[in-house]
């Protein structure tokens, strides 16, 4: 099995697996078997859902599995996209064996406990404390913007273990047991009325030291592994001209000739061009990726799409006029995903406001582009070489 897999043999292997498991209709059962066959993530080691194969082959494998039971990319997103690669890269063997399989099958859901009320763009400012007590850590603090915390069995957590050193050096990374006493999850209501996210309060939560990922004080480095594995947001799937977020506005425009004015027409045409340019840039980026040339354009996509979504949904509300003065539903309820197509223009308008905040604000993204892509020099920093406890907060 140590001979390297190629695309042909990977395809054959998947076909054989699918043929052999045609009768397994139970989703979890199928995914367990897929994991055990090393076909979850082929680039993971054998025994941990993979075959030690090249990362490129995953696409081939995924394509062959089309039509079979799939992981739930919504609920399992944090686990699959962030926790799994981090545990593989930085966890112990015991952690890998304990966590990866149920993570893959969706039997255990994961959430991310990074952001805090005082640590948003400045993630390294986390104030949640973890204090060692024998073989355990006692954790106190508050996390926020945690999606899926109410479903989650585990959370990836960064906490401050040493306030006496500079902020990047005093953090440690843990797996947080969401069922432990002292973990309280409260839905966080958003301006749309619903709650996609949670606040998580940690009060004297005791975590065994074997839930620590990486060394004490290495939390920032481990967290970078997590964040680098956040899927490059390139605005979702490829779409046709006029598809994607401009779709609903065009639909209104085409079906309601009575709402048309020259003013709105010029603004909509300009946004059509903007949407098309953004779509083509994403398509070009996908081509680069496929050609093995990942360029910096990927980091631009989120910035472009968030602005575009906001402008399009803003125009849509205005175009709708009377319908724009109404709203579909303010009920305070939990919501597991963002519904940009099923709900009305007002919801899209409000929800899109979050696009330029969540997952890196547009301000942070502009700085990242300027420094990492254009090579512009950083600003003077005053917070790098002083103990965390001495920083203004």
């Amino acid at each position: 099995m140590s001979t390297k897999l190629d695309a042909t043999s990977a395809r054959e292997r998947v076909r054989a697996f699918v043929a052999a498991h045609r009768d397994v209709t139970d989703r979890v059962g199928f995914l367990r078997a897929r994991f055990d066959a090393g076909l979850a993530w082929v680039h993971f080691p054998e025994g941990l859902g993979g075959l030690g194969a090249s990362r490129d082959l995953q696409e081939v494998v995924d394509a062959e599995f089309a039509g079979t039971p799939q992981p739930d990319l919504g609920k399992q997103g944090v686990g699959l996209g962030m926790a799994a690669p981090t545990i593989l890269a930085c966890g112990t063997d015991a952690q890998r064996r304990r966590f990866l399989r149920p993570l893959w099958t969706g039997e255990e859901i994961w959430c991310q406990l990074f952001s805090e009320p005082g640590a948003g763009s400045d993630l390294a400012a986390v104030a949640t404390r973890a204090v060692r007590d024998g073989d355990e850590w006692v954790v106190d603090g508050q996390k926020v913007w945690t999606s899926g915390a109410h479903h989650a069995r585990w959370g990836i957590l960064i906490a401050r273990t040493d306030p006496d050193v500079p902020k990047h050096a005093g953090m440690t990374y843990f797996v947080c047991d969401m069922a432990a006493p002292g973990v309280e999850v409260r839905p966080l209501r958003q301006i749309t009325g619903e709650a996609e996210f949670n606040e998580v309060f940690l009060s004297s939560v005791r975590l065994a030291d074997d839930l620590r990922v990486g060394g004490v004080g290495e939390g920032w480095r481990v967290a970078q592994t997590t964040l680098m594995n956040e899927r490059v947001a390139i605005g979702g799937e490829p779409v046709e001209p006029g598809g994607g977020p401009i779709g609903p506005v065009l639909e209104t425009w085409r079906t309601r000739p009575d709402l048309r004015t020259h003013d709105l027409h010029r603004r909509l045409l300009a946004l059509w061009v903007d949407a098309e340019a953004t779509r083509l840039a994403a398509a070009r980026f996908r081509e680069q990726l496929a050609a093995g040339l990942p360029g910096p354009e990927g980091s631009a996509a989120k910035l472009a799409f968030s602005t575009l979504n906001q402008r399009l949904s803003g125009l849509d509300v205005e175009l709708n006029r009377e319908a724009g003065l109404r709203y579909d539903d303010w009920t305070f309820r939990r919501s597991d995903d963002v519904d940009m197509f099923g709900r009305d223009a007002g919801y899209r308008y409000l929800r899109a406001k979050g696009n330029s905040i969540e997952g890196g604000t547009s301000e942070i993204l502009r700085t990242v582009i300027a420094e990492r892509v254009l090579g512009l020099p950083p600003e003077p920093r005053t917070d790098k070489n002083v103990p965390w406890k001495g920083l203004p907060r």
Binding site: A125, I191, D263, R321, I357, T361, D383, L391
Partner: protein, 360 residues
């Protein structure tokens, strides 16, 4: 003509602001929108009767204060700043202007009650009506009375009297049902008004009173939008001074700083155009006043929306939460940008008023 505030106007502002500080904090408003209706009757009674805002535009001969659009605009700035859930714009400006323009004795009687704060009125037109192209409605006068449905009416829930344009006239009715819509603007919802053979009193014999009042009110709405924008700017500046990231107040970052400077510059101009509209309207809807109204709306609508959007963005995550009041302002600003003509409609009006003709 002056674009500054007079001393009386400042006194009026202080009085309104004191009442709002006392009775209309962000938390009060947030709690209230969780109920069936956001309107605060007690607050309105204090403002309407004690401060006397209900009768500001009503002549003294009819029991009002005989003040002008300038004073009403100052009140609207403060109400916008507080997203105060009271029917000042809908009753004391829009309905009152319809009745003033009607000029009949029937209208005068209603005006007396409005000025005294004894009753409240609303006009049965869509809040989205374009003052330059107001559509009709489907209300008909039949044997038994008025019958029809009017959507998107603001302030109807708390109105004792409804002013209904029917053909070439305006009627006052007191029998009507109101179904509040789930509305984008939590602090000024719109409603569907239904008339079923409602008895009515004819208060105006001309079809002009309603479009006149819509344009007049649009001009004053700019002051409400100014108030909304000011609250957003002030609140964001305060937050930028206090919120620390990377061991610095975020307001020390140039990107934040420069955006707030630009926003301030927009708000400075919003104040100038809103004051100009309020001032020009003291002489009625002359061409100069119509130009001032269209300019004020074309400028203030996008500025208020932009200010609220910047407020949410620069507050980061907290700005996206229900518990922070920023969303109340975003929703009001966005609804206001549709109300009484969108910015584009007002720019259309300027094509004629300012001599910038459209292509043939």
């Amino acid at each position: 003509m002056s674009l500054l505030y007079t001393e009386q106007e400042q006194d009026l502002r202080d009085a309104v602001r004191a009442v709002l500080a006392d009775r209309c904090s962000a938390n009060t408003v947030l709690a209230r929108v969780e109920g069936d209706l956001p309107y605060d009757g007690d607050l309105w009674r204090v403002l309407a009767r004690d401060v006397g805002v209900a009768g500001l535009l009503v002549p003294e001969s009819l029991g009002g204060a005989g003040a002008s659009s300038r004073e009403a605009a100052v009140v609207l700035e403060e109400l916008g700043r507080a997203v105060a859930p009271v029917p000042f714009l809908t009753s004391a400006v829009l309905a009152t202007t319809v009745l003033l323009r009607a000029g009949t004795s029937e209208a005068g009687k209603i005006l007396g009650d409005l000025a005294a704060g004894a009753t409240t009125a609303a006009v049965a037109v869509s809040l989205a009506a374009d003052p330059f192209r107001p559509g009709g409605n489907d209300v008909v006068a039949e044997d038994g009375g008025l019958t029809g449905v009017v959507p998107c009416v603001a302030g109807a829930e708390v109105a004792d009297v409804l002013l209904v344009p029917v053909g070439d006239a305006v009627h006052a009715v007191t029998e009507f049902t109101v179904d509040t819509d789930v509305s984008l603007d939590l602090t000024r919802p719109v409603a569907t008004v239904t008339l079923r053979a409602a008895q009515s009193v004819r208060v105006a014999d001309s079809s002009d009173a309603v479009p006149y009042a819509l344009a007049y009110t649009a001009g004053l709405l700019a002051s409400e939008q100014l108030g909304v924008a000011e609250w957003c700017l002030d609140t964001t500046v305060a937050y930028a001074k206090e919120r620390t990231q990377f061991a610095r107040p975020i307001g020390s970052f140039q990107a934040v700083k420069h955006r707030l400077a630009d926003l301030w510059l927009d708000v400075v101009r919003a104040r100038a155009v809103a004051r100009n509209a309020a001032d020009q309207l003291t002489g009625g809807l002359t061409d100069a006043a119509r130009t001032a109204v269209a300019t004020a709306q074309a400028w203030c609508s996008p500025v208020a929306v932009h200010a609220a959007e910047e407020c949410v963005q620069l507050h980061g995550g907290i700005g996206m939460t229900w518990e922070h009041p920023a969303h109340l302002y975003l929703k009001r600003a966005k609804a206001d940008s549709i109300a009484l003509g969108a910015a584009g409609d007002h720019r259309d009006a300027l094509a004629g008023l300012a001599g910038v003709p459209a292509p043939a």
